[in-house]
Every structure is written in C-alpha cells, then in structure tokens.
Symmetry: C2
Subunit: 598 residues, 2 copies
Amino acid sequence: MPASYKAPLKDTLFVMKHLVGLERHANLPGFAEATPDLVQQILEEGAKFAEGVVHPTNQIGDQQGCTRHADGSVTTPDGFKEAYKALVEAGWMTLSADPQWGGQGLPAVVGTAFIEYLTSANQAFSMYPGLTHGAAAAIEVAGSEAQKAMYLPKMTSGEWTGTMNLTEPHCGTDLGLLRTRAVPNGDGSYAITGTKIFISSGEHDLADNIIHLVLAKTPDAPDTVKGISLFIVPKYLVNEDGSLGARNRLQCGSLEHKMGIRANATCVMNYDGATGWLVGEEMKGLKAMFIMMNIARLGVGQQGLAQSEIAYQNAVAYAKERIQGRALTGPANPAAKADSIMVHPDVRRMLLDAKAFNEGARALTLWGTMQADLVHKAATEEERQAADDIISLLTPVIKAHLTDKGYAHATNCQQVFGGHGYVEEWGMSQFVRDARINMIYEGANGVQAMDLVGRKLAQNGGRGMRAFLALVAGVIADAMQDERTVDMGAALEATVNELQGSTLWLMQNALANPNHAGAGATAYLDLMALVVFGMLWLQMAKAAHEELDAGAGDAGWYRAKLLTAKHYFERALPEAPALAAKIRAGSDTLMAMPVDAF
Amino acid sequence: MPASYKAPLKDTLFVMKHLVGLERHANLPGFAEATPDLVQQILEEGAKFAEGVVHPTNQIGDQQGCTRHADGSVTTPDGFKEAYKALVEAGWMTLSADPQWGGQGLPAVVGTAFIEYLTSANQAFSMYPGLTHGAAAAIEVAGSEAQKAMYLPKMTSGEWTGTMNLTEPHCGTDLGLLRTRAVPNGDGSYAITGTKIFISSGEHDLADNIIHLVLAKTPDAPDTVKGISLFIVPKYLVNEDGSLGARNRLQCGSLEHKMGIRANATCVMNYDGATGWLVGEEMKGLKAMFIMMNIARLGVGQQGLAQSEIAYQNAVAYAKERIQGRALTGPANPAAKADSIMVHPDVRRMLLDAKAFNEGARALTLWGTMQADLVHKAATEEERQAADDIISLLTPVIKAHLTDKGYAHATNCQQVFGGHGYVEEWGMSQFVRDARINMIYEGANGVQAMDLVGRKLAQNGGRGMRAFLALVAGVIADAMQDERTVDMGAALEATVNELQGSTLWLMQNALANPNHAGAGATAYLDLMALVVFGMLWLQMAKAAHEELDAGAGDAGWYRAKLLTAKHYFERALPEAPALAAKIRAGSDTLMAMPVDAF
C-alpha cells in the first residue's frame, strides 16, 4: 500500500533525443562525451538509485520529520544519513559540475534529468544537495579564486552542503527591508548578526560542514535593496589546509512545522556575530544571489513536475487495481463483479491531464536547462545571447506554471483514490502537501508572473519575446507541412494569436496604468505556458510520427505519445480565450474595492 | 498569529432578506415565527458561539487529533467535550428540528446558516453533530414510530450522536459490492457482522450513546445493490424506558491518520454479531440512505464554502498587515519603508476571487436549503414538485463545485501568506488540508458530475433542467429592465447559451456513446455552476441597487457587493467557452489510450 516510484527513463531519453539534441552541440565542452549510450547508462543507474535507495526514505521522512536538540543540532529522519552518504559516494551530485572542482563536466541537462528522479523519490531529501548546488553556483560566479578553491571541491562532492539565507521575519520578496548586519572585523572578515527564517537545509547531520550564503548590509550601505552584500558564513570555519576549525557563532534557533517537505530542516537561523566573508563586491550581493535564484527557479519548476509524476504513477496503479462499478457502455469484465475504474472517462481525464502535463513539463525542464547551459557554453556571443533571451523569458513561466499545475495534478491524482487518497498511509497526501511549497518558495508564483509581465516581456526592447514567437512560428510552419499535424498547428496558431492580442492589450494599456499588468499577470503567464507546452507537444508529436515512420519497435509507446499530444490540444489549449478575457478585464474592478471592504 | 474567525453575519442576513425570502412562505409551519428580527438574534448568538466557543478548539484539534485506546475507546482533543456540551445545552442543533422530537421547528435555512459558522470555526468538530443530523433524518423518514420515539429525541438534542456506515475496504461508490451481513435473530433484531471503514465520528467521548446506521445484506437478499438493507445499530442497546442497556458487539478497530479533519475520529468499525434493527423495509436500505446522502451533500458543499471563508478572512487580515514592496503605481504609503501587499492587483485578484466565490456560495447554499425545505413543506404538490426538480438537479453541482472551488480558493488564500502560509502555526495549511476531504466524501466529485449528467439532466424528461433554465431566463429578463444590470444580463445569457449548446451536444452524442457524457461531466457541472452563480450574483446585484436606491445607511457595503458581482462576471464567466470546448472534445481520445499505455 505505500506509494511506489519508477523513474520515467524512456520518456527522458525520448526528450533527450528529439528535443534537447545534445549531438548538435558536440563542439561544446563535455557534450561530445555525452553520447546517447552514456547518457542512457547514467540515467539507468540514476533511476535505480532514486527508486531503490532514496524513495524508501520518503514516507518515513514525512512521518518523522527532523528533530532539533537542545544544543541547536538537528537530526534527519531514519535512513537519510545512509542515503545521503550513498549519494555522495556514488558521485551523483557531480554529474554536470565543473571538472576543476571535481565534477564530471557533463552537460547540465544530464544532471537535471537525474534530479527529477531524485525529487520524485523524495523532495525533502533532494533539497539538501539541491541548495548546495545553488550555493556553489553563486560562489563559482561571484567568489574569489581562493574562495572557490576553499569551498567548491567539497560542495561539489556533497561532503559539505550549502544554504541560501535571504528571508527574515518581516522581509520576504522585498529584500530591501532586510536587517541582518555585516560589520568588518578588520582582518578581511565580517561579523554577521541577524535572524534569517525559512532556511531550507539550514542545519542537519548529513555533512561535516554547512556553507551558508547570507545576505546582509554593511555599516555604510544604504538601507535599501542597493545596500545588500553577500557573505559566505560557514558553520565551521575552514583552515588554510582545508581542515575544519572553530564552530562559527551561528545556530538553528528552531525548526518550522510545515504542511509538507517535513524531512527537510527548515530553520530559523540565528547569526550572532558569526564570521563571514564577502562574496564578490560589496553591495552587489543581490546580483550574485540571483544567479542562484534563477537556477533554483528552474529547479523548483521541475519539483512541480516531480510531484505530479509520482502522484500520477500511483494513481494509475490504483485505478488499474480498484474494482468498482461498471463501464458506462456495459460491463468491461463481465466475469467479475465490477470493472476497474480505468473504464471511467472521468478517471481517465484526470490521469491523462496529469500525463500530458508531466511529459510536456519534462520536455520543458530539459529543453530549458539546455538553453541555460548554452548561455554559458555556446560558442558564439550570438548563440549565448539567443539562449539567454529565451530562458530569461521562460524562467518565471517554468517556475510558476509547473508548480501551480504540478499541485493541481497531484491533487487530481489523489482524487482518483477516493477516501484512500486522504489517508496518509497511501502517500498521496504527502505528494500534495510536498507539492504545495513549490508554488511559494524561490519567489511566490504571483511574483513570477510580475517578473514576466513587468520585466521580462519588455527587456531589451522585447527581444526575448520576439525570439520566442519566432521559435513557435517555426514549429507551427513545420507542423503545417505534415497533414497529420496540420490541425494541431492551426490550434497552436490560434493560441499564439490570443497571446499576441493579449501582449498588445498590455502594451496599449499597462504603460498608462501599471496595475493592468499586475491584474493580468497570472493569466498572461498561464497563456504563455499554453503556447510553450503547445510548441513542445507539436515537436514531440512530430518526433513520434518520425519514429513510427521509421518502424520503431515499440510502436505502442509512440502512439500513446500521439494520443497524449492530442489530449493536451483538446483539453488544455481551449483555455486560452478565457485567459485572454481575464487579461483584458484589467485592474479597474480590483483596485476600486476599498481596503476595508474586503 | 493563530487564525481568527468572524461569522459573516451581515452577508447571511442580506441573503436571507433578498434571496431566501422567508416572509414569502409565512404560511408554512415554522416560517411565520422566523421573523427577520428573530433570525438575526439567533444568528448573532450563533456567531458568538462559533467564534468564541468552537473556533478556539480548531488548531489544537488539528495538532492533537483523536486518540484510540487499547479498549477501543476514543478520546477527542482538549476542549472538545466542553464545546460539545455547550452546543447541546444551548440547543444549537435543534434550531430547525421537528418540535415533535424537541426541535425548535424553524425553517431549515436558519439551522443551515448557523452550520456554516460552526464549520468555519471547526469542521472536524462540526461533523459530530453533522453526521447525527443526517442519521436522524434517515430514521425520521424511514424508521418506525417506535424507532423514532426511541432515538430521535436524544439525537435531536445531541445527547446521542449518529453515524453513516456505508464504505467497506473494497467497496465505496459501488455499494452493491458490500459484504456486511445481517442475520435475523428471531426476535425482530438482526446480528450484524462486517467491517466498515472511513466512519466519521464513529467512536468518541462526546456523547452517551452513538447510533450507527449500517448498510448490510440479509441472508436471502441478492448480492447486488438491490439487496441492501439499512439497520440501526446502537453502541449501547436502549431499554424500553430509554435508559442505556448492554454494550453492543461493535468496536472502533483503528483510527485513520488523515491529511486533515484530524480532530474527527475517522474509524474502522468492526461489527461482530452486533444487534441491529431494520429501518424501513428489507432491501430498501439504499433509498433511506440516500435521504441522508442528499442532505449530507448540500452540507458538504457548504463545508467547501466554510473553509474558503475562514481562509479568506485570514488572508485579508494578513495582506493588510504585511508591509512589503511598493505599489506598481508608486508608493502608496511614502512615509513607511514599504506598502501593504493589498496594493498589488494580483493579491487583490486572489482575494476577490475568493470573496466572489464565498458570497455566491453562501447565496447558493441558503437558497438551495430553502428549496430542499419546500420539497417537504410547501403547501401544494405543484410547489413541492418544482422545488424538488430544482434541488435534485443542483445537489451535485452544490456538492462538487463548492468543494472544488473551496479548496482552490483556500489554496490561493494560503498563497497570500507566502512562506508563512506553509507553516502550520498560522493555520492556513489546516484550512487547505481540511477542505481537501470535501471533494472526496459523500460521493467523490467525479461521481457527482456523473450523477448530474447521467441521471439528473434527463430525469423526468428533463423537467428539472427546463425549470432551472426558466428560472435563469426570468432573472436575465429582469436584469435587462435596468440599464445598470444590462451588461451582466447579456453576459449571463451568453453563458446560458454555452450551457444549452453543450446540453444539446450531449443529447446528440451521449445516447449513442455514454462515454461522451462521462468525458464531459466535470466540465458540464462547472459550466452549470457558472450559470447558477451568475444568476445568484445578478439577483444580489439587483438587491444591492435596491438598497442603495432606498438610501441604505451602509452604502459602502452595498457598493462592495456590486463590485464583487462585477468581479465574478469579469473573471469567472469567461471560462464558459473553454468548458464547452472540453465537453465537445468527447471521449474518443480518452478511451483510445490502452490501459497499459498510461
């Protein structure tokens, strides 16, 4: 009865082959090594690891949660230490890391594909290495050579973990309000004092050291968002030779009791004159932090997918086994007293909605990671720029849409279980509860929508949006060449028209009244997501046709892919006009309501 | 920081005055007594009780849950006994009950209005009297005079509670599969043997006796849905004089660990030759049970509203106090370091979506209860029939739409809190977790959608649907008389057209292939809900205009009502074409997917 998990290896490899196309970039560092065979081998092993080593810790982690002791130390649930040790020893976190720090140097998309499996298997667990990855990325981009040499090797291997310390009790989205202070000690270090909250993986027993990245203000800095600096504040100071020195003056003050991801230690962190070192330039802390945030936002989008995927798998298994009622068209299995609930169109609707989302979201996270990788590695500035334009634009869409829908589909999959879905024993409740955080952290989804509409859309004179629309137009034009995809191409074109009409409406109205942009932001983000998903599904449909035309052995799998594409077009794209109507509704009614009348 | 609750008294009274119209039915028993003044007095006291006595038990109830002891007894969380005792002593459960059994004989809508407050205050708690109410209703309709006299007085007062025992481990929606047996003892009683699961309020320490209503099959009955009988199986046998006799052979075998409503004891009930008495005729058990179920379904719809309401209230309070960021149009409060997040259109969107839903749902549950009451009490058969046609049709809509949206809006209100919403301390997580069950129990929402499309729509040759459409047409025609409501009238007419087009499509297609009905059922139910809400919002807008025209003292309140109506029309009604498109998509793609390809 406990939930099970099987990594969707075949689908990952399908996306790798047809949408990511590693071989087209064989000239880039690490890409030539990433042959289809090697990637398959790695992901096969990664699947086994996620299924066999990590997934068994998921439910017990939720039940036990983390425990804070009187001395401020924190212990993780049963089995976490062993699973984490195995993760580090097998080098799973090093797949796509820089060889200079002990990484295997493979394309980022290989590591990302594995992370989906790890997250489905146990999201709370995956956040210990996940935060480390983000913290290491910030040091890599903004830190000094000495800092990189001191921290990155052990953070890359996972021997040390990392955290991101932004939020304070009175200060979340608006970081300008933060009060944590950094006072120079005179020896190049700073004394960090303040309270940070919601610090994921803030304290635990999995690693020898924890490298906290902390936002704080220096004494002469303006008390605004422009006065923020970033500091490395390790739990244990690190000696020149890399050995651990004194315990730093910081402590986990308490653990939050949360709706989900209970096995991740979400800490109140108290810094009491803790020793820290500036990362990069003073008062440029936000820029370095946003390097982490953008990577993290793609990762959070993927967490939305990961929860929907495992919820879907378990709902399918339950629906096949649950014998209840009869098909509307007459008994499907007359010999039995009832049919499986898979005979019901409404059950299939919930399952196919989730399946179509999951496969589209998988394509989006892997293809999106490829774009993010190209930003750093592509051979020409032009290619780097093009990739940056696209992924900057789509990052808020990936973060917000995938987490909103991931939660919605996990909820629907829980619904397939009836009353059994509400009982913790079956694990479906945990998927929903865990999925809920993804809509909130790394910038709540409403903030993502404003990032898209208020910033990304107009960035560089709208260059990103033009590039995106050109990309979609190319996919549609391609679809129009094949009579089997003409209808889908036309449907996507109609959706693009809704998006363009909505963009025009915003251009004509939001300049005069920015509240119109805020009022339509969430609907606009969802409308854009329909176009992105539609584009990816058209490409996947084309690829499935190609495989079938070429006589692929597992024809049933590709035919299912085509049906899933059709389902997405039938059931998701029709929402576009409603979203466009909500955008055009503007902000007048919303803003007319007096605060006291709510 | 813990959540707070204030009963929406003014809004209840507005609905009572303008949509329920008790005074129009002053000829019916109990209605003349229910003057506006009396109803207001009762609800003012009821509000105080829910806010001051019951709500303080909500969070602690969630934290502690119920405890089963080795002897099978169950204790409720701290404060529950005291709150329940106060509920019984004040007679809160007797408001709308029959005076013959100790009730106050007021119209059902008065009791229902109070139940909303009780449920917002603590849903898990409200289910102890709630299930009692359903069980008593079944005995009242189907029981013998002796049974009524024996059980109803104490169930009406709440001294004894009741339960509904339908589900078994292998048998939920499809009751024909049930295995619990009832063997005649020869003395008029039966020996009941079997295992029931998910029995809400199944065992507890709040009342002296628990009257279980149990579905079981008699020895010669067909092993199908047609062989089911209903039995009264009390925890303690009741002597002729009404005193308690021997402990019956039944026990709570275990408690479920659930996502929410943790303070309600959800029991596995083991009947081991327990003594039971047939209610009504043998093999007519389902009919009696469905009396309970239909009342219960309206109540569950109201639970969806109740969770959304308390979540909304707390989100508004938080949004007003949370100082973070600046208005898009420039600082709203330049003297402070940041503005309240109420300046953000996207925050207002989430709040107004919830507000528009809550007020529409309140109108629907109270107006719907009035129809249900008229089914029994109206003076003429014609009136009774008309009320029955409408409420039979709308019961699945109320149950499913209000619980789906109640959960969605509770989730959005949690979102307003950012990270604080995910921490249990603030209470928002509990509202979402509690709201989740409402979509599942008393018939999962997909089953409700099939009840609507597969049964209610065509019942009596479509008489209910015609009556409903005539009702809506009347409201639209009325709106067209006033230029202030012409636009809304036209928008609702367009929504009705989508509904009628979808109905026609189903008539033309689902007869040949019933799977088309199943595939479109959920979308159809939501489309119908848009029409119902639109109709009620038009009526409320008209009423608000009338109050303003008459120079109502609290003009701001009525203007807010008009803005909320406008918001619903701007942001909810545009979804109609998307729903219609999903209905027309039919079932071909859904059913074409092979089971093994999911």
